[in-house]
């Protein structure tokens, strides 16, 4: 198969780029979250907002800051969406309906970027730039701040539940990390052919004699942070399949690189923050292992797609862009569902059944391999705590992770964390396929219809935001249901993570000994991967059996 060589080639390029960039960026991130110094621009913003960036916040204060900040974000974005027709650069679009504005506000504040609307047919430039793109930056910042707080909690010794300062973490993430990288990335994207303008839609005459409105806009700037911050909300409805967002195989691989960059770098930074690089390496290895397996499976499923037409086309080409091919689409699909990005460069609805199943399973793992920016790291660390608890008992000691004992209170928090997302997904799917308003949204019936609904609630609850397609989700029922999934799926875990960070920070950090379970060895990497698959993955097996698995076997 001639297509195997480019498939492997682009993976090799991607891996090489990540291997070069991740340790470097990880070191920088560790510095950002531990440095006592503030930049001038940061100091100015703290003064303007009357914040004390040096206050070491208790986890409760930290959590309240996160929730307060996000609530303001949701309210602001809701109002912005409702009133967009009164504002400039609206391109004449009306204000969003109430349920739609709620869904979109929650979606972008939770770093999910589920889009019930078509960007080019519902939102003006100002809303996209000043509403959505701003949230693309700060919602990513919130995730990274929470992860930094957890790492700090683990690194600290008897600090009374204090985990750092949310405002400093947020501002630094945006100012020192996201803005500079996004700026460079946007320029690169423009150079590679992504559009960037503020023009009115241009009307062109088509070959068939009709007319078509071509909408340009500030695409490259939104595209850069969309991938970098694992947001995924496209400027256009077609998202990264649209030639203005992702014109060539080169932009494709560059965008994949961008969306994997920070989640992996956060894992590396984690090792440095806790003072043991090997710990970050182990977490990173688990992420890479799980992602690697899903890339391999998804690529295999799409390239070996069953049937006559895929055989002639050299793979399952339905719903894919010819310029990316099956391999480029599968790689993007695995990366966008493995991170909580949710951008798509192909229609996941048209993936082969096993391929769609892999994409769904990636999200079901809880977005940990490598997951969203920040959220991937804290999700994986929560699973690491579960693993340490199970495995730690097997070495005959009260389990501890990085010198912090996992006692009753810690395990309560972790247990609730592990419970939250499956509860949302499974309750969500039960409601969606039982209520008549849910069923009308499904394009297909039978197992594929189940997959469409399952994909939607899974994507929302895990804050991924990618859509399977096929589902008509812009109805009050779906907007409300998925909005709730996104909101609870983001902030319940965050509060639990911060509570755990507080517990860890208050604990004494015990020195490691020969009797402590080593958490940096290959055995632990394998075990943590196993726990992710068995403890989290098994939860979804029954419903997967009735959706993608039945479909794959027919």
């Amino acid at each position: 198969m001639s297509s195997v060589v480019p498939a492997l080639g682009q993976i090799a390029v991607l891996v090489a780029a990540l291997v070069l960039a991740v340790p470097f960026l990880g070191r920088y991130l560790a510095h950002v979250y531990t440095s006592p110094r503030h930049l001038a621009v940061e100091r100015a913003s703290y003064r303007a907002l009357r914040l004390d960036p040096n206050a070491d916040q208790h986890w409760k204060a930290y959590a309240l800051s996160v929730l307060g900040f996000s609530l303001v974000g949701i309210l602001g974005l809701y109002a912005f969406g409702r009133l967009q027709d009164l504002l400039p650069l609206s391109l004449g679009f009306a204000g969003l309906p109430a349920d739609g504005a709620w869904n979109t506000a929650v979606s972008f504040v939770t770093n999910t970027n589920w889009q019930w609307y078509s960007g080019e047919a519902a939102t003006g430039h100002l809303f996209q730039m000043s509403g959505l793109t701003v949230q693309n930056f700060v919602s990513a910042g919130v995730g990274m701040a929470v992860a930094a707080a957890l790492a700090r909690g683990l690194a600290r010794n008897l600090r009374d539940g204090r985990v750092g300062n949310f405002w400093a973490d947020l501002v630094r993430t945006v100012v020192r990390v996201l803005l500079p990288i996004a700026l460079v990335a946007a320029v690169v994207l423009v150079l590679l052919g992504v559009v960037q303008n503020l023009l009115e839609p241009q009307t062109v005459h088509t070959l068939t004699g009709g007319t078509q409105d071509i909408t340009g806009g500030p695409v490259a700037s939104q595209e850069a942070i969309k991938e970098l911050g694992t947001n995924g909300g496209g400027f256009y409805n077609a998202n990264s399949a649209h030639p203005f967002e992702n014109p060539t195989p080169f932009t494709n691989i560059f965008e994949i690189f961008l969306l994997l960059l920070l989640p992996f770098a956060m894992a590396w930074a984690f090792g440095l923050i806790v003072g043991d690089r090997r710990q970050g390496g182990a977490v990173l290895a688990v992420m890479a292992l799980l992602l690697g397996v899903s890339i391999a499976l998804l690529t295999w499923a799409e390239m070996a797609g069953p049937g006559t037409a895929p055989g002639l086309a050299g793979g399952a080409m339905e719903g894919k862009e010819v310029r990316f091919g099956t391999a480029g689409s599968a790689l993007f699909g695995a990366a966008t569902t493995g991170t909580s990005t949710g951008a798509v460069n192909a229609m996941h609805d048209s993936f082969t059944a096993p391929g769609g199943g892999v994409a769904m399973f990636n999200m079901m793992l809880g977005e940990v391999a490598p997951g969203g920016v920040g959220s991937g790291l804290y999700g994986m660390l929560m699973l690491a705590v579960v693993t340490v608890f199970l495995a730690g008992l097997m070495v005959g000691r009260t389990p501890e992770y990085l010198g912090k004992k996992i006692g009753q209170r810690e395990i309560v928090l972790v247990a609730l964390y592990v419970l939250t997302t499956p509860l949302l997904v499974l309750a969500g799917i039960a409601v969606a396929i039982t209520a008549s308003q849910g069923l009308v949204g499904l394009q297909e019936s039978g197992p594929h219809g189940l997959s469409e609904a399952l994909y939607a609630v899974t994507s929302a609850s895990n804050n991924n935001g990618s859509a399977f397609g096929g589902l008509t989700s812009g109805t009050p029922f779906w907007n409300t249901l998925l909005g709730l999934c996104m909101l609870l799926g983001r902030f319940v875990p965050i509060v639990l993570v911060l509570a755990l960070a507080g517990r860890f920070s208050a604990q004494r950090r015990l020195p490691p000994g020969a009797g402590t379970l080593p958490t940096h060895r290959p055995l632990f990497v394998a075990l943590l991967s196993g726990v992710a698959l068995v403890v989290v993955g098994l939860t979804y097996v029954p419903v997967l059996v009735l959706g993608p698995i039945v479909e794959s076997l027919s």
């Binding site: 608890f389 005959g396 419970l419 799917i429 020195p511 009797g515 059996v545 009735l546």
Partner: protein, 664 residues
């Protein structure tokens, strides 16, 4: 295995009361499932529904059985202890009054209170726990310790504590009572071995939380599956969904969890160690630093003469004779070992001189010498400084010999006759056999051993090296011990120690695991969180191992339980949906004969695996001291990988049998 299954059955049935199961959410869910399937089986009888209902009840029963069996093992012991509690009469002396006043009143032992003073004579039962404040007696403590040889109890010192219910064999003692009725040592022992006072330990609670949340997740899975199945036109009856739920929730560990805890305490009791709380047993598994007294733990306790080192101009025979004569008055083990050693020499002493021609000079703390005065001869042996002072000066060769002996961990005894230095006896502290291997094991487990001794640093270092301990604390006072424990704890390490004296009490209380010797004082026993009835300081090592074994058993069975789920999915899911979606038959990798048989086989396997693992939960997972990484690899292989594979085999075998039942 002397597991009394029949005897435990009534208890197992009593525990079917749902209120008993509130503490274990996993088993409560199983019982609710059993009740639900019973109702369904009555409303709509079928072989499978009846089968599932019966086996779900059996699942709950098997879990209860494990707990009953574990509790039953302590019952026999409790019965023999109860015999000690029979009411006796006591002769109570007036408070503050001395025995010599002659007056006492006869009262019931149950009316004695803390601070009462009683008189006990030979043949009488001691009416309550207390300290001997006057006299010395031999006491039969076999009912408590199982040791038939009588022990000496005397006022003052570290052997003053007596236990209520034990019998005075000789002499008479005056005892001050230290516990009120119902709170005596034996009362606490009974409560402990019966498990009636069992409070769940922190780690057990944490594990229960995790198991509870896994159960909650699977409840959500199964409830949502009901709706998803309906959507898929593959309606599932309640019986089948309940069967799936029970197979998925971690019933194996849920059923055996409390039995593991009770059995862990029981293993300690069998080694004659009483833990005052389960928390202490768990803490033992976490110990990082072990403080061990040199004497009696690392060495045999008695120093023994190993060599005679004469000065120039003194023959071996001369020194040997002097050493022998000077030791005649010395009844200490050291003195006797000198006699034994010298027995190999030609001493020239035809006949051992006896009083009155000989005057024996006893060792005293002030002279620090012992010896003998014969007509015309004065022989002394003792500490170098004391003997050289007696002689009126030392010499360079003697100093060198003394230094040489000290530096190898020995104790030098200088022998002199009438102002003339003869030589040095090398007293050696003999390290118990096998200690070095033990300490190597400890090191592999990540536990640091510290030897505590009153010896000077030079001697201590030599013995520490010989025994292979990691560190030592020389010339240790009780305050030093306490300070060392505090220092280790501040570094986040858990410390275990044992002790018997009243001056050990603060350190015993400070240590995370403090094992008091039963021969010790009441203060020491109160301060520690364990009591070793055999008074064997080496036991500390076993206590640590039992603590680790307890945690390992929990972890191993949890892993096994969770790993089992994979096979159960392969058994049940195809069975549930193969009618609606025939293509799912390829997932029936075990080729189970029919959907009904598959579901029933999984449920039966789930129940039988509990019974199969009861012996393991009572005995504990095999534990060999090794590093955490090795332990993890081994247990993961057996219980993780084994847990993945075992149910595939078990369910297949059960299916072969069950498929023979008509209607399945």
């Amino acid at each position: 295995m002397n597991v009394d299954l029949m005897g435990a059955l009534p208890g197992a049935f009593r525990k079917l009361d749902p209120r008993e199961l509130l503490a274990t959410p996993v088993m409560l869910v199983v019982e609710i499932g059993a009740a639900a399937t019973t109702v369904m089986a009555v409303l709509d009888p079928s072989t499978m529904a009846v089968g599932v209902a019966i086996w779900l009840w059996l699942t709950v029963l098997f879990g209860n059985l494990a707990e009953s069996v574990a509790e039953g093992r302590g019952k026999a012991q409790a019965a023999s202890l109860r015999a000690l509690q029979q009411e006796t009469t006591a002769r109570r002396l007036p408070r503050g009054g001395a025995e010599s006043d002659g007056g006492y009143d006869v009262v019931s032992s149950t009316s004695l209170r803390v601070g009462d003073v009683v008189l006990v004579e030979a043949g009488e039962r001691i009416p309550g726990d207390g300290d001997v404040i006057e006299g010395v007696a031999s006491v039969d403590e076999s009912a408590v310790t199982g040791e038939s040889a009588p022990v000496i109890r005397e006022s003052g010192g570290d052997r003053s504590a007596v236990t209520g219910g034990t019998v005075v064999l000789s002499d008479r003692i005056v005892v001050r009572i230290t516990s009120d009725p119902g709170q005596s040592f034996v009362d606490r022992m009974i409560a402990l071995v019966e498990g009636s006072e069992r409070q769940r330990t922190p780690n057990e609670i944490a594990l229960n939380v995790l198991l509870g949340s896994l159960t909650a997740i699977f409840v959500v899975v199964v409830v949502s599956l009901y709706f998803v199945a309906d959507y898929s036109d593959a309606h599932q009856p309640v019986v089948v969904l309940t069967a799936l739920l029970v197979c998925l929730i971690p019933t194996t560990i849920g059923a055996l969890l409390s039995a593991i805890g009770i059995a862990g305490m029981d293993r300690l009791v069998r080694r004659n160690v009483l833990a005052m709380s389960g928390r202490a047993v768990e803490a033992a598994g976490d110990v990082d630093v072990l403080l061990l007294d040199k004497t009696g733990t690392i060495t045999y306790g008695n120093r023994q003469a190993s060599a005679l080192l004469p000065l120039d101009g003194v023959t071996d025979a001369e020194l040997a004779e002097a050493a022998l004569l000077s030791s005649l008055a010395d009844e200490t083990p050291e003195g006797r070992s000198i006699v034994t050693l010298v027995g190999g020499f030609e001493t020239g002493a035809e006949r051992l001189p006896q009083p009155p021609e000989a005057v024996l000079v006893q060792f005293s703390a002030t002279t620090r010498m012992s010896g003998i005065d014969l007509p015309g001869r004065e022989i002394r042996k003792g500490a170098a400084s004391a003997v050289t002072a007696w002689v009126g000066g030392s010499n360079a060769q003697l100093d060198a010999l003394v230094e040489q002996v000290s530096s190898t961990g020995g104790t030098p005894l200088v022998v002199a006759e009438k102002q003339r230095l003869l030589g040095v006896i090398h007293l050696k502290d003999v390290v118990k056999e096998g200690m070095r291997e033990r300490f190597d094991e400890m090191r592999a487990m990540g536990i640091r051993t510290v030897m505590i001794t009153g010896d000077n640093a030079v001697t201590a270092r030599a013995i520490a090296e010989e025994a292979g301990v990691d560190d030592f604390l020389a010339e240790a006072t009780p305050e030093d011990k306490l300070a060392l424990i505090r220092k280790e704890q501040e570094g986040g390490r858990m410390v275990a120690m044992c002790g018997d004296g009243t001056n050990d009490a603060p350190a015993l209380a400070q240590a995370d695991v403090g094992v008091a010797m039963n021969t010790g004082t009441t203060a020491a026993k109160e301060a520690g969180n364990m009591v070793d009835l055999d008074s064997d300081p080496t036991k500390l090592i076993e206590v640590v191992e039992i603590g680790k074994q307890l945690l390992i058993t929990r972890g191993a069975l949890t892993t096994f339980s969770v790993a089992n789920d994979v096979a159960k999915y392969f058994a049940i899911l195809p069975a549930m949906f193969v009618v609606a979606f025939p293509q799912l038959d390829v997932l029936n990798v075990m080729r189970l004969s029919s959907p009904e048989s598959a579901i029933l086989s999984a449920v039966v396997f789930n129940a039988l695996v509990i019974v199969a693992l009861i012996p393991l939960s009572l005995r504990g997972v095999r534990y060999t001291p090794s590093s955490a990484a090795d332990l993890l690899r081994r247990n993961l292989l057996i219980y993780g990988v084994g847990g993945l594979i075992a149910p595939f085999v078990g369910i297949k075998l059960l299916d072969l049998v069950i498929s023979l039942i008509p209607g399945v």
